[in-house]
């Protein structure tokens, strides 16, 4: 259980991982330009104020954009300077490490990092600690947590459990899925080796087994972070089985699922899709009736809380009263969720 929680957030933004291999070369150029732009927009450092360096992976991802909104607002409220950094598109230690080195050279008061690898960033964390800079984790965590003051993250296993509940309720489980005629659902993941996907799938499967024995989950489609690949796979499941539902484990798979049931016409009309991540496109699909429910993480809250704890640590000089690990529950959004709530959780691409 411990191990699980250590790695579960590590490769969170799985949709970027497939792309990373492909774009390495171009990033050599573009990352310099865009990191440069990013640093230009940060507030000017004042010597009196605390400054908190905040390094994410794949900064352009709406997930991290939402995190920025929370972190930025909290930093403003508490009167600290936020140094927000991260490669725009690449979720990988090879691009993250230079960014960390650069922000450490600016001598921030604290470092918040979403490590793109559980191990690779550790030497830099140690380096920061040695300079007296406390280090915090957000979203993903370092393998060695004893150097980390606090880690705020989403709970992927709980998200998977919530997805199973949402799917069962969308299917109207007690009347539709009986032992005489069980329900069949397809599952789409980005990669079966990504810990995030594995944790969500684990929660989903366990909940089906425990509470919904009359739902059979097919072997997962592996989309490699490509919605077109997910779509092709779901189309196969739709024509091979009398499919009632789909659990799309991330935004890319949800896109693929929505397109597959649209293209399937009448065969896809009654298939209930539960998706993951409150991307604007997914919310739009839900409002258009293509997605029955979305499991949302809380990146804004993650960003807000970690800044709160960092400032608390800086002000009081120790970690008293700061949780070492805070796991935020995932939220279930459905078509009946109020617009205000949707607005709150949608990942903003600001």
């Amino acid at each position: 259980m411990k191990r699980e929680s250590l790695t579960s957030g590590a490769l969170k933004r799985s949709r970027w991982i497939g792309a990373k291999a492909v774009i390495a070369a171009s990033l050599a150029v573009s990352s310099i330009a865009i990191v440069g732009l990013g640093s230009a927009s940060q507030a000017g450092a004042s010597s009196k104020k605390f400054s908190i360096a905040f390094v994410v992976g794949a900064e352009a991802d709406p997930f991290f954009q939402s995190m920025y909104v929370g972190a930025h607002a909290e930093a403003k409220k508490l009167g600290v300077t936020l140094i927000w950094q991260g490669d725009p598109v690449d979720y990988s230690p090879s691009t993250q490490i230079p960014v960390v080195q650069q922000v450490l050279a600016e001598k921030p008061s604290a470092l918040v990092i979403a490590p793109t690898d559980t191990k690779a960033l550790e030497p830099y964390v140690a380096q920061a600690i040695k300079k007296g800079i406390p280090v915090f984790n957000v979203d993903s965590g370092d393998a060695n947590q004893k150097n980390i003051t606090s880690w705020v993250t989403g709970n992927n296993v709980q998200g998977g459990t919530a997805a199973a509940d949402a799917l069962a309720s969308a299917l109207n489980y007690s009347t539709t899925c009986t032992s005489a005629s069980p329900c069949t659902v397809a599952v789409g993941v980005s990669s079966i080796t990504t810990s995030t996907d594995a944790a969500r799938l684990k929660g989903f499967d366990a909940q089906l087994k425990a509470k919904y024995p009359n739902i059979t989950a097919l072997n997962p489609i592996v989309s490699q972070s490509q919605s077109s690949v997910a779509q092709q796979g779901f189309a196969q499941d739709i024509s091979a089985h009398h499919l009632q539902g789909i659990f799309a484990i991330d935004g890319t798979d949800a896109e693929g699922a929505a397109a597959a049931i649209t293209a399937a016409g009448s065969a896809g009309a009654n298939i209930k899709v539960v998706g993951y991540d409150a991307y604007a496109s997914n919310i739009a699909s839900m409002q258009g009736g293509k997605i029955a429910a979305i499991i949302s993480q809380q990146p804004t809250l993650e960003g807000k809380d970690i800044i709160k704890y960092a400032v608390q640590r800086l002000k009081q000089g120790n970690a008293k009263g700061i949780p070492h690990l805070l796991t935020l529950a995932n939220i279930v959004l459905t078509p009946t969720t109020s617009q205000a709530t949707l607005n709150k959780y949608v990942y903003t691409a600001s």
């Binding site: 949709r15 598109v89 092709q232 496109s281 258009g288």
Partner: protein, 336 residues
Amino acid sequence: MSTSIDTLESVGPSALKRLQSIVGNQQFILLLVLVALVIFFGERNSLFFTSSEFSNLLIDFSGLALIAVAETYVIISGGIDLSVGSTQAISGVGGGFAMQSLMNHHMSETGVLLIGAVICAGIGLVVGAVNAVLITKANLVPFVATLVTLSAGAGMALVFSRGAPIGQNPEAVAWSATGIGPFTWLVIIVISITTILGITLHVSKYGRNNFAIGSNSFAARAAGINVKRHIASVYMLSGILAGLTGMFFYIRSGAGSPQVGASSNLVAIAAVVIGGASLTGGVGRITGTLLGAGILTIVTDGLIFINVQPTWNQVVVAAFIALAAVLQSIRPGLRS
């Protein structure tokens, strides 16, 4: 004064010769494999023989066919184009932005898609032209040149789109399912383009030049063929076809996704190799490539169809490429 310069060594045992010529007819073997696969999957789940599944297979085949044809031209000419995958992404995203603005101006769906197709093809042409310049002017080897555009294209697609699908167009998805029986309009268009390019490769002077250049570019140049211009045109053709594939996936998924086609360059190359083309150039057939693409499509889809563990999919595809390599090595007539 007709004399004979005849130093042909005596032909080996005729039985071996005949075996070689049957095995060497790779097309025939591929056809058998394809039929066997269909029977296998249908045997496991008879729904495989339904018209809706046939339609699925045709669409998935079409998503691969254009870039496989492009890759056939390129590989026969002695090159390779790694950028066909990311070109789909950059043209789908670029086309997505353009179509979004057309939709905002309330243009008719048909108009949006037609203009979108032209824009996607245009973006593909630009990528192809960059490849052409890198190869024929900067004298980079095709592998390196197209690796550069592969990386640049994928990076640009992600940066411009910020990772999100561009130009949401659910109407396009609905249209993608229409057509004549299992043959959707998309499939019909792709098959038409494929047929024309296939015939061109095998009966025209352009196609003949392509083989000659891949076989011996010095000989081609000595015979008066403008080799550089031809090579440039091949990469531009490949770019256009990849751009059109970007449009294909825009229509199919109802948006231009920056991740589309990420690994499809390798699948396309695999289809060409399975189809019997030589990576050193000069050898290949469109029918072989299409059979290769068909086999890869059926394997990929069929394994999901019969609910096999996903890890097996890649293993099986790898096995088919290995099979192709074996078939190539026992093909007769590859001296020197």
